[in-house]
């Protein structure tokens, strides 16, 4: 006999989320993920001047705003046949990296860790410490992380004018040229952030964290750190609670590749499905069989359309169901690090599959890997050389922008006809991870990951760990 429970509003995620679980024998037997809000950006964009996309799309999301800008700028650049100068590319990488690292930090401290301070963990050895450190709003970590994050975001003041919602990322590069003095100020800001990370989050050098190459190395490092810094604190609690065995999805991972340089990228693109494969973008389609959207067949985004249909039979979410060759994919920092070949990410999924712990560890790894990359990109910027090329008018053209946002792969498909946007389709990371079922009945990645999870209490804490481990962004999902 199963019981059904609707959990919502599911907070400490970006945007609105509701999860329905069916419970049998105290565990989740089926899960249905609902994005309960619709906004209609793809409809808003129709008929607009192509460059106006740069104003609208960042406003899809207040937390992945730059990622949306970057995807749009890339789609426009492709349509225009335009390539940004070296300075523009470096500035765009720096801007996107600043957003992604700030998002990883916000997720860890503001959204994810407060669940360890819940009353349900009374009696655990670490409970008193977790409550003092990570309690939402009042935990001592707030006084450390909020000022450090706000200061780090001064990087955006220079590179993007403001965050969120910049217009500095253009198809031709960056609208914000830097002077030598500003390069120095940015270098100081990055240095200050490194000190915060090494002192408060990791309790160790970024390079030491980035070089951890197996679960054994991670556990050895955790024990050597005692509990002074916050990431080792997390590891101690996560291993005590067996979170490395919780929240496995389909173990198929996708990344479109992040932070390009002139030849390759910092994190390579690809698909992991037991082994590394090439990513074939043309095999992406969006299924709407369980979405409150008109239509029944799965369409590739370039030919996709978005028309709401509220009372559609069998539908239970505003989210579409993207699939790659018909298969459910997980995307995000863990996917990125697996596809990029990081040995620690590989060892974790080889031993246990994808998990709550692996997803958080991958985010922390990325912080440790990307800040040093930012330091080197900044050094390469050459004031006095061009940052931006002028745009070209568009009459009939199409373009695709593929970006790794903090939460995973983001795609924009742009089609311009007679100088106006004819169609604009967006596939966001959480659209992949939190998709509803498809026509074949295959549940989305989170729906899959929740099955078998312990469902004790009114709002089961294990369910909360699994949901938040994906770092969902619902406002992107329901664009």
């Amino acid at each position: 006999m199963s019981t059904r429970r609707v959990i919502g509003p599911f907070n400490r995620v970006e945007g609105d989320l509701e999860v329905t679980i069916e419970i049998a024998d105290g565990r989740v037997s089926a899960a249905y993920v609902n994005s309960p809000m619709y906004r209609g950006f793809e409809q808003i964009l129709q008929g607009k001047h192509p460059m106006d996309a740069l104003v609208y799309v960042p406003r899809i999301c207040g937390i992945c705003s730059v990622a949306q800008s970057a995807a749009s700028a890339q789609a426009l650049a492709q349509a225009m046949g335009l390539q940004a100068p070296e300075n523009g590319r470096l500035a765009a990488n720096l801007t996107l990296a600043a957003e992604n690292l700030a998002d990883h930090l916000s997720h860890f401290y503001l959204f994810f860790m407060p669940d360890f301070a819940r009353e349900t963990y009374q009696g655990r050895q670490w409970c008193v410490d977790a409550q003092a450190r990570f309690k939402a709003v009042t935990g001592s970590a707030m006084a450390d992380v909020l000022p450090a994050r706000a200061k780090f975001m001064h990087v955006m003041g220079y590179l993007a004018g403001k965050w969120p919602h910049t217009l500095s990322l253009q198809p031709g590069g960056s609208s914000r040229p830097l002077e030598d003095a500003e390069k120095l100020r940015l270098a100081i800001l990055l240095r200050e952030f490194r000190v915060f990370l090494e002192r408060t989050l990791f309790g160790d050098k970024l390079e030491v964290v980035a070089a951890l190459d197996s679960e054994a190395a991670l556990l050895g490092w955790m024990e050597s750190r005692a509990t002074k810094a916050d990431f080792p604190r997390f590891l101690t609690m996560a291993y005590d609670l067996d979170l490395h065995k919780l929240g496995r999805a389909t173990d198929r991972f996708m990344s479109v590749g992040a932070y390009p340089d002139s030849i390759t990228s910092l994190f390579a693109p690809g698909v992991w499905d037991g082994g590394l494969k090439q990513l074939d973008i043309s095999s992406i389609s969006e299924d709407v069989s369980h979405s409150w959207m008109e239509g029944n067949s799965a369409l590739p985004p370039a030919r996709g359309h978005t028309l709401p249909q509220l009372n559609k039979a069998g539908a239970y979410s505003w989210c579409k169901a993207p699939r790659l060759g018909g298969r459910v994919l997980e995307t995000g920092a863990l996917a990125r690090q697996i596809v990029a070949g990081h040995p620690l990410a590989h060892d974790l999924i080889t031993r246990h599959g994808g998990s709550v712990t692996a997803r958080v560890v991958a985010r922390m790894l990325e912080i440790a890997l990307v800040l040093p990359a930012m330091e080197s990109w900044l050094c390469k910027i050459k004031p006095g050389e061009p940052f931006c090329f002028p745009v070209k008018p568009l009459e009939h053209a199409s373009g695709v922008g593929l970006i790794e946002a903090a939460r995973g792969s983001l795609g924009h498909w742009l089609d311009v006809r007679e100088g106006k946007i004819h169609n604009y389709q967006i596939v966001a990371p959480t659209t992949w991870n939190f998709s509803p079922r498809d026509a074949a009945g295959n549940p989305g990645a989170l729906e899959h990951a929740l099955v078998g999870v312990l469902a004790e209490g009114e709002v089961p804490v294990a369910v909360q760990h699994v949901v938040r481990s994906f770092d969902p962004c619902m406002v992107c999902t329901v664009h």
Binding site: V6, I7, G8, P9, F10, N11, R12, V13, E14, G15, D16, E18, P36, M37, R39, G40, Q43, I44, Q46, K48, M51, D52, V55, Y56, C61, G62, L110, A117, A136, V137, T138, A143, L146, A150, M153, M156, G157, L159, A160, G161, K162, W163, P164, H165, T166, L167, S168, G173, S174, S175, R176, P177, P308, L310, P383, G384, P386, P390, E458, V459
Partner: protein
């Protein structure tokens, strides 16, 4: 100290960017700052511990009066569609967010629209406005919106519109501080009910491109140093906000980021009637004149100043770095 003010924050048709912007506040620590002004955050969807039933109870307690709701903040537009049902955003109880907000606004002492979406509909109301988005007390620039022309919160004040896309963290914090200190009166709100503490300035005030503006030395493409008004659509001389006096993320503003001010604090900014990054002109003269500037004078002065543009200003305006530095002049002691 007097009793803390209970603040409930809800989100609807928006991007969450005003909350994320709030976290950029440069005051030492956001939660301490609010607490310092006697503001108690009873629930926020992104920041509070309580989820699901625990959160529903907090909201129910506000509605049934067992918790006094002092400040209701809404971020994001009210989604009225489809067909005025509010069905594009439902809460877990099945009630629409539109209806829940309406009920809470009847019991709140102060009702605050955080961001241009909650104030006027904003970007969510752009294009064909697929969700029939509107603001709490405005539908674009027309009084009305969800709560109606005559709406007053329990304090007697209409909806306070902290417009901006996103809002500046300090606009929110200072408005809340003014409320909690008992200083916020209706005369401190402008015609669109925006706090005059920031809306009585123009984005032009403090713009680092002012020398280029004076000589009408204009940028032609993004990354040029010149004034963005003549060609690239900048509305800084008309937009109500103090973005270039009180900077963003410590060091920035839109114009300092190399791009145009799109007047995001104004109702209707989402549909300017021309491409955002192009200046509409008639006979070569921009249609949108600086605030309070008579057209004839603007045209005459623009022509005069263009003819008087120094070489340095002219050349730098169309470069992405200073190509001519200001002349160093020896000043003799007198």
């Amino acid at each position: 100290m007097s009793k803390p003010l209970n603040l409930l924050w809800l989100q609807s048709g928006g991007c969450g960017g005003c909350t994320l912007s709030l976290l950029n506040a440069d005051y030492s620590h956001l939660f301490d700052t609010l607490a310092g002004f006697g503001i108690h955050l009873i629930w926020h969807p992104s920041l509070s511990e309580q989820s699901a039933d625990e959160a529903k109870k907090i909201i129910d307690d506000c509605l049934n009066g067992s918790t006094q709701l002092d400040i209701l903040c809404l971020e994001g537009a009210v989604l009225q569609g489809p067909y005025a049902t509010g069905g594009y955003h439902r809460t877990t109880t099945g009630e629409t967010m539109m209806n829940l907000v309406k009920r809470l606004a009847q019991v709140s002492r102060f009702t605050v629209a955080v961001g241009s979406c909650a104030a006027f509909g904003g970007i969510t109301a752009g294009g064909c406005n697929p969700t029939d988005a509107c603001g709490l007390q405005f539908d674009v620039d027309t009084l009305g919106g969800l709560l109606g022309n005559d709406y007053r919160a329990q304090s007697g004040l209409p909806v306070i519109n902290i417009a901006g896309c996103p809002t500046h963290p300090n606009w929110v914090i200072e408005t809340l501080a003014a409320i909690s200190s008992g200083l916020l009166t209706e005369s401190m709100l402008d015609a669109f009910q925006r706090p005059r503490l920031y809306a009585d300035h123009l984005v032009h005030h403090g713009c680092t491109r002012n020398e280029y503006y004076e000589f009408k030395a204009s940028a032609h493409k993004p990354s040029d140093l010149g004034c963005l008004m003549e060609n690239l659509g900048c509305k800084g001389t008309q937009a109500h906000a103090d973005c270039n006096i009180r900077l963003w993320n410590g060091e920035g503003s839109c114009t300092r980021g190399g791009y145009t001010c799109i007047a995001c604090t104004d109702p209707g900014f989402e549909e300017p009637g021309h491409p955002f990054l192009e200046t509409p002109k008639i006979a070569g003269i921009p249609i949108g004149l600086p605030a309070d500037m008579p057209k004839a004078w603007f045209v005459a002065l623009a022509a005069l100043s263009k003819s008087a543009t120094p070489k340095r200003v002219k050349e730098n305006a169309q470069a992405d770095h200073q190509v001519v530095a200001p002349t160093v002049k020896r000043v003799h002691r007198k």
